[in-house]
Symmetry: D2
């Protein structure tokens, strides 16, 4: 899935480029858009009592992005075993197609008491949807 976005003024820093912490937020936007697309609306998940915290994040900054640039974020579900989930992200400058940023995030599935959920047993439908997504 390609998630389009442009860079806001408040996302730049005094170096004149996007502050490096903001890419982690762009990844979140792209991740939630991907999940929404396959029917896994994150707000619904939270209402069902499923919390999906981030366990790790990795990001490589190749080309800095600037105010008003148009970007596309390519997101893939790279791993899902019912307990853990991993996604990869690639941010491209829309005009030139250059790869500017790449990254990965890891996640787990917890209930409201922050205990691990066995997705396959407790939410077989969601489990199947995510399994399908990782195959693509």
């Amino acid at each position: 899935m390609k998630y389009p976005r442009s860079i806001n003024y408040y996302e730049t820093d005094k170096m004149g480029i996007v502050h490096h912490s903001n890419y982690i937020r762009f990844f979140e936007e792209a991740r939630l858009a991907l999940m929404r697309q396959v029917g896994l609306d994150y707000r619904n998940l939270e209402e069902m009592g499923i919390v999906i915290p981030v366990t790790f994040v990795r990001c490589k900054y190749l080309i800095p992005l600037r105010f008003e640039e148009e970007i596309e974020i390519q997101t893939r579900l790279t791993r899902y075993d019912g307990i853990k989930m991993e996604l990869s992200y690639e941010i491209y400058r829309k005009e030139s197609g250059e790869l500017c940023t790449s990254g990965e995030t890891g996640h787990c599935f917890l209930n409201q008491d922050l205990k691990p959920i066995r997705m396959k047993r407790e939410f077989p439908d969601l489990y199947a949807k995510l399994k399908d997504l990782v195959k693509e």
Copy 2:
């Protein structure tokens, strides 16, 4: 109360100065520090079921602040009637004493269901503490 703080790199924007939205966050820090000082720890208030949302904010930008500058925020409780609360803020450059930013925020007191709380009847101790603070 004078709340000290320095400016972080990630709080600047491409103009090379603090992004104007961040002053609203500095006000929040200073407000919660003031309340903590008189025994009104905001985390405790939330655990007691009291939520204090912001109803308005006003800010005047006089002199822009830059990375690494040391500031002091002077906060005053200017109005409190048990239903509504108002505070004023003045941000000074520590070295020169210049006034750089001024502002006000308004607040109300709600319970977990976001219904107004009658502080005087339900939390007379907190009511008294805030009444004392407004007199100073």
Copy 3:
């Protein structure tokens, strides 16, 4: 002009609603979109040596916004005299049309040395475009 937007997860706070400082950023997005629409691309303005800092901001929080809500921001240029500019903002919930937030910002026009620019004399085209926008 109506600027559409949805609420990101990272824009919420522990109260479960959009943190009040983020509305100031939404105003900025809507303001720059309005100016872009009439040919006043802010990046171009900065390249021409024109800086438009914020001199004041005011915001009233009527109904809190939540994660994934779709909003529309109605922005108007309410005052422009070549020296100062003022805009007003109204944020509506897209589905219900309810007014959730309203606000205003004030601005001035400075050159790279942060000295006031006489727009009418130095940039008559831009001056005319803004004058037209305030009439609408």
Copy 4:
């Protein structure tokens, strides 16, 4: 070096914990404090024409942090060869001493035109200070 800090309300998200992107900002605060301590004030570096962008960031989230928690960030310069620099970070809950977050960042040294600087030749004093820091 141990950099102390407490968690601000605006740094939490609707999960009730610090949003994962903010730890990247905490790392920056701790990194700049470490450099300042050895006389490498980042504002001075920028004024000397040295820019130190982030080339990668990695973060592991072990225990979530909450509003008002007191933390300490232990920062180490783990690698420095005059061209590249790497730092590691560990965030501890002050009270319990528990390790909550760990991470690393990578950096390079560029001039104003974003070309690599040969630190050893162009800034031998700074080079020596960083070399000393990596030994500790």
